[in-house]
Amino acid sequence: MGNKIVGLVNLHHSPTLGGLTERRCLASVSFLSRYALMDFTLSNMVNSDIDYIGVLAPDSIRSLTKHIGAGGPWMTNTKNSKVQVLYDEPHAHQLGYNSDVNNIRENWWFLEESRADYVLFAPAHVLHIMDYRQLLSYAKAMGARCTMVYAKVNDLDDEARGGLLVDVDSQYNITRMYANRGDRSEGFASLGIVLMDRSFLYQVMSLAQSSSSFFSILDVLVTHCQELGIKGYEYAGPYMRRIDTFSHYYRYSLELLDPQLRRKLIQPGWPIYTKSYDTPPAFYAKTCEVRDSAIANGCIIEGTVRHSILGRDVVVESGAVIEDSIILSGSRICAGAQVRCAVLDKDCSVVTAGLHIEGTPAAPAFIKRGDRV
């Protein structure tokens, strides 16, 4: 068997992030001023020489197709590579049937066309840095048809809630999978990254069909864990965070202002590719005070920005103050306004002079996309 991997970014088990995912899928939520969350998994695939990438989308394809476009930023060769949104139109509006199993069945042509020997599933909301070729080498060395990546977690009452925990024996076999109910603090949590050979996927698909029309691939793996034979692979990458709640999104965004932590996520030699908007460099006016902040191009900053993240084309007028906040692209903060511990979605305008928008680190304030306050 060859070594060709087709990558499937699986959005079917994406959590929601409150208002941020009301009108877009999690994968296209802006992150760290110039990325979308999906860019990290997509870039891992590109950097692992995976040139056929499907994005399994259950819904909200507007933001997804807008970001991915024709796939240009993630394509190595514009003829031989493909980055494709895969959408199950017949089941898109049938709750329960809108599963990754049905999506793959509907888009089977993509796997055929890729001529891949292996299928790699990875989510968009688990930020990780991983060379998937090493996962393949491991799977081959272990003679595994299916390998699942997990990591040790010490605070399961906060992390990976509702996620999947695994038990692993001394031979690295996954012996059991079960949901994290937060009733224990330590354990091994799945990252949702699964590598399987194609015949294994056939087997899973037919098991799903014979079990229940509602079954996802994960449901099959959980139900038939022992008989299928799944190997575990402990994640050893430099960085891993789950963006699975609004407060995790806020906390794990701002902690990346620490340059040393950021260097673990964005490493030299492991570029993170994203869509370019041809925005000009950011402009810092004489009146500005900017400290400890990540700023995207196109911003015009006249006011004060501390410990914050600004997306593209954000305008901070003279006298405005932004602290401990995340401002998404196109928003405008007018003179006299103060924003603390808040997330402002795209194209917001804070126009009321003297308005204070203030949340707490545990419960950041949120302003909806396009709102004028």
Partner: protein, 374 residues
Amino acid sequence: MATGNDVVAMILAGGRGTRLKALTAGIAKPAVFFGGKYRIIDFALSNVANSGIDRVGVLTQYESTVLSTYIGSGSNWGLNGNKSMVSVLPPRETDKGIAWYRGTADAIAQNLAWLDSLHPQQVLILSGDHIYRQDYTEMIELHRTRGADLTVACINVDISEASRFGIMSVDQRGFVTRFDEKPAHPESTLASMGIYVFDYQYLRAALITDAKDPSSEHDFGKNIIPKMLAEKARICAYVYKGYWRDVGTIESLWQANMDLLDPVTEHDLIGCMPRLFSTHTHSDPQYIGPEAEVDDSLINQGAQVYGHVDRSVIFNEVVVEKDARVESSVVMPAAVIRSGVTVRYALIGLQAEVDHDIIGEPGNIAVYTGKEDR
């Protein structure tokens, strides 16, 4: 857009840019970095693309490798679509031998076969090293409605500067009556910008005649246009209003970068829509550190600023370390300004590592590329 298929743009990008000294060591002047994110030729290429002109030839000669690699398929400017193309046209060996481009007119003359194959009505000739934004549609429309053989874009300059330019006199109808290349005593302030719209058949005949003239320097300003005037050709002047600079010297390159720190100029040149296009650098976000101080500056994605930046233009992947000071300077991609170092009134080249003070002054801008000793 009306201009699309009938017009082919030819961008003259072969100049050496000797007066830019170390900044053009190894690269052609149009490939020199500008404005925090761009190369100079981005202006010409973006103007062409945003004017709806789909087919472009770029005439290269001096150090063309970086330039032709940068231009690639033209995808950065959207010129790789189904009806668009960019061809980089360096001098080449033909059945008549090997010939360098002897002048601006000769560069076009040696590519007449390429132009013939595209069947243009008009040819737009541009310089690849000017900083300005222009939609050429209006100029081409003027050329067509006036039935001109040639339309020259021109700009009003200060009389004290006029002797640096090709100066034109025009009649009441806007037709050119006189053209003097760098006159000692200019009689007008209307300067040619080196932007020409020619009717292709007229251009073709003029270039073939010029190529046979042993006394000609094969230059548009010195030879082609004076001869056309002598022959009473219809030369129309199109007056451009707006920011336009030829950044041929260290001082003018520095000054044009500093001009971007004025919000109005910044908006008109790089902030406005349609966008000024450039390459994708796959950079991190720019980061301004906890003790950094940034005032009155343009900073591109990928830059990491821990020190003091004032009145400066900072490119992608530049690092300004803690306790470093950058004032009134331009720092090109991936240069590193080490802690404790002061850079003032300077142009710092690509990937330069600056571990000692680089201090210039207005009128004597310092240039440091870190490659001086090699």
